[in-house]
Structures are given as structure tokens and as C-alpha cells.
């Protein structure tokens, strides 16, 4: 069997270890004797729907999104939409996920038109609140940053999120799962990600696939099914994957330690409250705010 991975904008939209997702697909195919081939699709390259089984797009800054958004619409849009309609699989992460919705309103209020694969739209939190992003503290105050744990069917997914945009699913759109810890789509409705056909949009970095082998195999199997009918993937020894998953989950649900004090982030630590799985990890604004009150409220204010 053969699988063709279309990796969108490898030099622009690959900021957060996203190539780990590509590597995971290649290796997990190779270990099963499936030959996986990666095609980098940069600005200017068209997408041939018959020559791609799995589309991957990663994260990037607002400026990167501006750079690729025209190309995504005019050059690649048609091909990607057709491939997905025909059953090709896709994983769009963070900035990529945002550009695959209907539109993304950036921090400065500029509206970038999206592919519309996902029935959703995204607004940067700074545009919602009218916050000027002129200091690290202010930039931090509008972002959802931290470990993200998602219940996806019967499987728990773990990763890291780092985004200023808030994504809202339109009625009828299907979320990927429910947030167990972290912000997810918008820190409001407890939903994370979006699914359309075999395309998955998510805020899970980490990267998402190595530590969540079930998600990786789900995408690989879906991509193969389009060409080869009913495919069952032989199981692999996922011990290292699952151990890493477990450790990351433990860290995601742990309370922050003494480093906050040592690093000069504040002089008081929150006390007297037992850790809950729903606790949002502390917000990085406390790094520079140095305000003990921030330590207590950062998690909550995100959802406000």
C-alpha cells in the first residue's frame, strides 16, 4: 500500500514541532510496510486531489497566515476541498485549523478569508476585547497557553495549545472532543477542534500525533480507506508512545511547582485549593506581571 502525504507550507507553517506529525505518519506507515511519501506544497504549488491522501498543515504566526492565506484560497483551495470531499484525511493544527474555517479575524481586526472546510470562524481575543498587544504581559493576557487535554470518543488526547484566536463552531459542526484541561476552541463552550469527513482541525500542538498514536492511526487508516477500501492497521508496540502520553497527562494535570517563586513571578502561591482536573494551567502573564493576584485569577480570566 502507498500513502501520499501533502505537507502544506513546510517552511512557513511549521513553527511548533509540526514536522513531528509528518515524521510520525511516515514511521508508523513504514513500520507496517506501507510506503509513505511526503510532498511539500509551498506557496505557488497546486494540490492535485488524486495525488494526496493525507493533508497536513501546522502552526504559524499571524504574519505567516497572512502570507499563505491568498495562496491557500486561490491556488490550493479547490484541490484540497475536492480531496477531502472524496474522503482524503487531513490534520490542520492551530493556525492551519483557523485558516480552514470560514474566516479568521486577526489581532489587528483584519479579516483573512479561510478555506471553509470547517463550518467555524475564528476571532483573535485581542480583536474581541480591543487589547493592544504592545507588551508581553498584554499579549499573554489574550492567549490560551498551556497543556491541553481532550476527550475524543473513548480516547484521551494530550498536547499543548498556544493561540490568541478563539474558534466558534457553527450549528451542526462537529467538534473533535470535549476539553478536560485547557482552553480548547474558545475557552467558553468546553469544545475542542472540528471534524469534517476525515479532516480534523485542532489546537493540539505537542506535536499531536507522536504522543497520541490512536489519532495518528485514525488518520492513516482513513487516508488508506479512500484508495484501498476497508483497511485494518496491524497494531504496533506503542509502549514508548503511551508512556510519553501518560507522563504528559500527569504534567498537564499537575499543579505548578516552586519554580514560580524562584523565577520571580510573584511572592505568593495559591494555597488551600485541591487540584482539579478542570484547572486551567497558569497563564504565562504571571511571568512578567509579578502580581500575586494574577496567579490566582489568570486561569479564570481566560474564560471571562
Amino acid at each position: 500500500m502507498r500513502l501520499i502525504v501533502g505537507y502544506l507550507y513546510p517552511s512557513v507553517m511549521s513553527q511548533y514541532g509540526d514536522r513531528g506529525n509528518v515524521l510520525t505518519v511516515i514511521r508508523r506507515c513504514a513500520w507496517r510496510g506501507i510506503s509513505a511519501e511526503v510532498t511539500g506544497l509551498d506557496v505557488g504549488d497546486r494540490v492535485d486531489p488524486d495525488r494526496v491522501d493525507l493533508v497536513l498543515i501546522g502552526g504559524g504566526a499571524d504574519s505567516h497566515q497572512r502570507l499563505v492565506c491568498e495562496d491557500l484560497l486561490r491556488v490550493k483551495g479547490e484541490g484540497i476541498r475536492r480531496a477531502i470531499d472524496e474522503g482524503a484525511a487531513a490534520l490542520a493544527v492551530c493556525a492551519g485549523y483557523q485558516l480552514w474555517g470560514h474566516y479568521y479575524r486577526t489581532a489587528t481586526g483584519e479579516e483573512l478569508r479561510g478555506l471553509g472546510v470547517f463550518d467555524a470562524h475564528t476571532v483573535h481575543r485581542a480583536a474581541q476585547t480591543g487589547t493592544r498587544l504592545d507588551t508581553i504581559t498584554r499579549a499573554g493576557s489574550v492567549r490560551a497557553v498551556g497543556n491541553l487535554v481532550v476527550q475524543w470518543g473513548t480516547t484521551v488526547l494530550v498536547g499543548f495549545e498556544n493561540h490568541g484566536g478563539r474558534t466558534y463552531l457553527h450549528s451542526g459542526a462537529q467538534p473533535l472532543g470535549r476539553v478536560q484541561a485547557g482552553g480548547g476552541n474558545n475557552s467558553e463552550d468546553g469544545l475542542e477542534g472540528c471534524v469534517h469527513g476525515n479532516a480534523i482541525g485542532t489546537y493540539l500542538h505537542g506535536p499531536a500525533l507522536p504522543k497520541n498514536p490512536a489519532l495518528a492511526d485514525h488518520l492513516i487508516a482513513a487516508a488508506l480507506r479512500r484508495r484501498y477500501g476497508d483497511v485494518t492497521l496491524p497494531p504496533l508496540d506503542d509502549d514508548p508512545e503511551l508512556t510519553a502520553h501518560e507522563q504528559a497527562l500527569g504534567r498537564a494535570l499537575a499543579r505548578p511547582g516552586r519554580w514560580r517563586l524562584r523565577w520571580g513571578e510573584g511572592v505568593a502561591l495559591p494555597r488551600g485549593r485541591a487540584p482539579r482536573a478542570r484547572d486551567t494551567p497558569p497563564h504565562p502573564s504571571w511571568f512578567f506581571a509579578g502580581n500575586p493576584v494574577c496567579l490566582l485569577t489568570a486561569g479564570e480570566s481566560e474564560a471571562a
Partner: protein
């Protein structure tokens, strides 16, 4: 020059109270062995008197210098401070790891009298390294006469969010500097070099002019591949490491500025250091840098450029670079029961790649222990290990261990790099280190690549067991000025 808080007696009292509280906190912190007391005292003092840093720094007779950047700011600050001391200046500096405003406040308040006045000789100058994110606030509080920017890599995206964002913050802060200030920038880093456009302050660039170090193509960890002026692709004629190199924009014509300070004929002697010729307006000098790696040659060059802007003789920089010792965990050699270990701090993909390149330079196999924590100072997001070129270890290690709070992420990274499963995997950094060092045959070295808090806990244990000196004692020793 006395530094009396302007005007009201209330302000005077606040300043004195701030200094008193800060000094008490420092004494307590040291007496209780809670570390060097390098951050908390300044934090408390600033809470009492928010104008403390500005007030005290104004009284520095020779003003102050800020060194910022992603990698190399500690080493650059050290060499620059060493050169300034040799020139007879009394240097006030912050110990590494305390590079946010409270750390700077602490280093200033220890020199203040009970009345809140700065008590320093007429030759005093402040030379501080500053965290990238804290730079705008530090520049505003300290009004530096000189700023040195080493480079800008992606680092701790959970704290700084986006590389572009940090560049924008710096640019805004630098544009506020007066014409009397000087800004020293790395010409080889496009995002940093571009910061020199449109400043009131005078600008001097430094860069590598040595073609033999250029490699074809950019690494995956390269962050600034695009023209900072027009956003199009930059064309690299040479690339040294990450996105550092000789570049030009084919669209708008913006190109690498010609450096006033240039290093050429660079020879790197593995882990022993490097030699280079450095051109300054005062002439050429042959430099010997006692710290390993091409990136430390660049740090020495940055320090030479900064020193020259302060009017310090290049010969003194030469001495300082030769006498430089590895800062806290930067290529620090440790001997444990006759076994040798070398500790390298890594915190981002470009630093990891350079560290690995250094460790693997030459032939043969190496014994390697990699440590990854995910506390605030390390960056809580560990995804960067997937951007590091771990694949380079293939066939080059005779021992490979992983440790730290995210040891299992590392093990997974190794698996997907198709490396053999690790010889050691332990969440406890200290236990892993002593186990790995115990398995190191005499005559061989254990190379330890480790993130910030992992290194900190390891180092504390090494101090406790008497293998290395506490970092604040090292800093004090470093301050002893050779006559």
C-alpha cells in the same frame, strides 16, 4: 553622584525602605540556603518602590549597558564585563538566571546605602543581561547608553508566543533610545540586523566574514527566512547555523548590512575553544576564545563590538575572551569520583543543534545524557524537540540516556529518529546523572545536554555533594579584577 529620590520625603522613605527590605530578604535567603537571593530581594524592593531601578541606575556615573538576545547573552555579558573591568571600570552586573527586572534591581540595591542612595565609585558602570521579553521594560527603566543584541531564535514560544512579536517589541523599545545611545546588532541575523533601521541611536553591526563556515541551505530550525522589510524570501549566499548567514532580498534589495566589527579566519578547536581574527575600527586582533563552538566566537565578537563602543581597548577584550570560563552550565566541566562530565545548557532547537554539533565534533562515539523539564523557565511547551536534529546522533553514541519531567517525550523523539531505545530513562535528573556518570568508563566524558531547571536541580545537588561551587560564589570570583 548621589541619587536622592526627587522631591517628596515620602519617596525618600520608600526608597530607603525598599533597599532595607531587599537587603534583609537577601541576607535571609542566603542564611536559609534558599539559593543566592538574586531575584526575590529585587522583587520585594520594587514592590515597595517601583521607581527603584530607574532611580538607582541614574546614579551610575558611567551609565549602563544592556545585552539581550535568545542565545549567548550570558557569555557576551561576561566577556564584555571582563573587558570593562580590565579597563578599570567598576562593573555592576547581574548573575545569570536573574535577568528580569527584579534581578537587576537586586544587583543595584546591594550597592545602595541605608538611605537609598547608590554608593559606588566614579568608575562604576552597569552591564546587565536582560531577558528578551523583559527588554522593553528594562530599556525604559535603565535608559541604557549601549544595547547589544546577539540573535533572535524561536525559544519558549509559550512565553514569547511568536518570534516576530519579540522583534516588534524590541524595535519599539530601540526606537525610543536617544541619539546619544548606541545599538550593536548582529548583521548575520536578518531579524536583528533589521532592528537598526530608523533608529535615532547610532548603530554598529557585527558579523562573521568567514566563508569556510558557510553551509549550503538552511536548517529546519531557521526562523527568519523572510525579508523583514518586504516579507519575501531571503536568498542565502552563506548560512552559518540556524538562520544566521549572508543574505539578501531578491525583491526589495535589502541585504545584510556590512559589519563594522567582523570575525574572520575562525578556527574551532572542538571543545577547547576557538581562534579568530577580529576587525575593529581600532585595527585587527587575533582572538583566542576559551569557550567551545562557533557561537561562542560570535559572542566574543559581540562583546568586542560592545566594548569598542564603550571605548575599551580591543586588547582588553582579547584578554577577557581568553580568560572566559563557561557560565553556569554552559560547557561546564564537572569531575565526579574521577569520572568526567560536561554540562551544556540547551533551551531551544538552534541551541540544541549547536550543542549536539559541538559534542559530536570529531570522530568516534560519545556518551550522552539529555534532560528535558517543562517548568516555566524551561518553556512548558516541549514540542521544540521535534524541530531539533536529534537524527545526528545516529551511530554516534555508545551511551544515550534521557531524563527529566518529560524524559518520555525525549525517548519518543529518539524512537521516531530511529535511534536505539535509550540506555537509561529516568524522570529524576539527579539520579539519572549519577547513574550515567557512574557507568562512564575512566578517561571518557559524559556529555549532558539539559534544560534550565533540570540543570538547576542537578547543579544544586553537585554543590551539595561538593563537586562544584555555588553559582553566586562563582560570580563573585568572576568579579575579582585582575590588576
Amino acid at each position: 553622584m548621589p541619587s536622592t529620590p526627587a522631591g517628596r520625603p515620602g519617596a525618600l522613605a520608600a526608597r530607603a525602605a525598599a533597599v532595607g527590605a531587599g537587603k534583609t530578604a537577601r541576607a535571609l535567603s542566603r542564611a536559609l540556603h534558599r539559593g543566592g537571593g538574586t531575584t526575590l530581594p529585587g522583587h520585594i524592593a520594587q514592590r515597595i518602590d517601583p521607581g527603584l531601578v530607574t532611580g538607582l541606575s541614574r546614579a551610575l556615573p558611567n551609565g549602563c549597558v544592556l545585552v539581550t538576545g535568545t542565545n549567548g547573552k550570558t557569555t557576551t555579558t561576561r566577556i564584555l564585563a571582563g573587558a570593562a573591568r580590565r579597563a578599570g571600570l567598576a562593573v555592576i552586573t547581574n548573575p545569570e538566571g536573574s535577568n528580569l527586572l527584579p534581578g537587576i534591581a537586586t544587583s543595584l540595591l546591594v550597592h545602595a546605602t541605608a538611605l537609598g542612595r547608590l554608593d559606588v565609585p566614579g568608575s562604576a558602570i552597569g552591564i546587565f543581561e536582560v531577558d528578551e521579553g523583559a527588554f522593553p521594560a528594562a530599556a525604559e527603566a535603565l535608559s541604557p547608553r549601549l544595547v547589544v543584541v546577539t540573535n533572535l531564535f524561536r525559544d519558549q514560544l509559550d512565553r514569547y508566543f511568536e518570534v516576530d512579536f519579540v522583534a516588534r517589541l524590541w524595535q519599539r523599545a530601540l526606537r525610543r533610545l536617544p541619539a546619544s545611545a548606541t545599538v550593536v546588532l548582529n548583521a548575520d541575523d536578518p531579524a536583528v540586523a533589521y532592528l537598526g533601521e530608523g533608529l535615532r541611536a547610532s548603530v554598529a553591526h557585527f558579523g562573521l566574514d568567514d566563508r569556510q563556515w558557510g553551509r549550503p541551505g538552511l536548517e529546519h530550525a531557521a526562523d527568519s527566512r523572510r525579508c523583514p522589510r518586504c516579507g519575501r524570501d531571503l536568498l542565502y549566499e552563506l548560512s552559518f547555523y540556524a538562520h544566521l548567514g549572508h543574505y539578501a532580498c531578491k525583491e526589495c534589495g535589502w541585504r545584510r548590512p556590512d559589519p563594522r566589527f567582523a570575525a574572520w579566519k575562525v578556527e574551532v578547536d572542538g571543545l577547547d575553544g576557538s581562534r579568530a581574527h577580529i576587525t575593529t575600527p581600532a585595527g585587527n586582533r587575533a582572538f583566542q576564545v576559551s569557550l567551545a563552538g562557533l557561537y561562542n566566537t560570535c559572542n566574543a565578537l559581540a562583546a568586542a563590538a560592545g566594548a569598542s563602543c564603550l571605548g575599551v581597548e580591543p586588547d582588553l577584550v582579547q584578554e577577557a575572551a581568553h580568560g572566559a570560563v563557561g557560565a553556569f552550565g554552559r560547557c561546564e566541566r564537572v569531575s565526579v569520583g574521577g569520572r568526567q562530565a560536561l554540562i551544556l545548557l540547551v533551551k531551544n532547537p538552534s541551541g540544541f543543534n549547536e550543542g549536539l554539533r559541538l559534542v559530536l565534533s570529531g570522530s568516534g562515539t560519545r556518551r550522552l545524557l539529555i534532560g528535558l523539564n517543562d517548568n516555566g523557565p524551561d518553556g512548558r511547551d516541549v514540542s521544540w524537540i521535534w524541530d531539533a536534529d536529534v537524527e545526528r546522533c545516529r551511530g554516534r553514541t555508545s551511551f544515550l540516556g534521557v531524563c527529566g519531567q518529560r524524559a518520555r517525550d525525549l525517548a519518543l523523539r529518539l524512537k521516531y529518529a530511529e535511534l536505539p531505545s535509550p540506555d537509561l530513562a529516568d524522570d529524576d535528573v539527579v539520579r539519572a546523572f549519577f547513574s550515567a556518570v557512574g557507568r562512564t568508563p575512566p578517561g571518557e566524558t559524559l556529555y549532558v545536554l539539559i534544560t534550565y531547571t533540570a540543570m538547576w536541580s542537578l547543579r544544586r545537588e553537585l554543590v551539595r555533594r561538593g563537586h562544584v561551587a555555588p553559582f553566586w560564589q562563582q560570580v563573585r570570583a568572576g568579579e575579582a579584577v585582575p590588576a
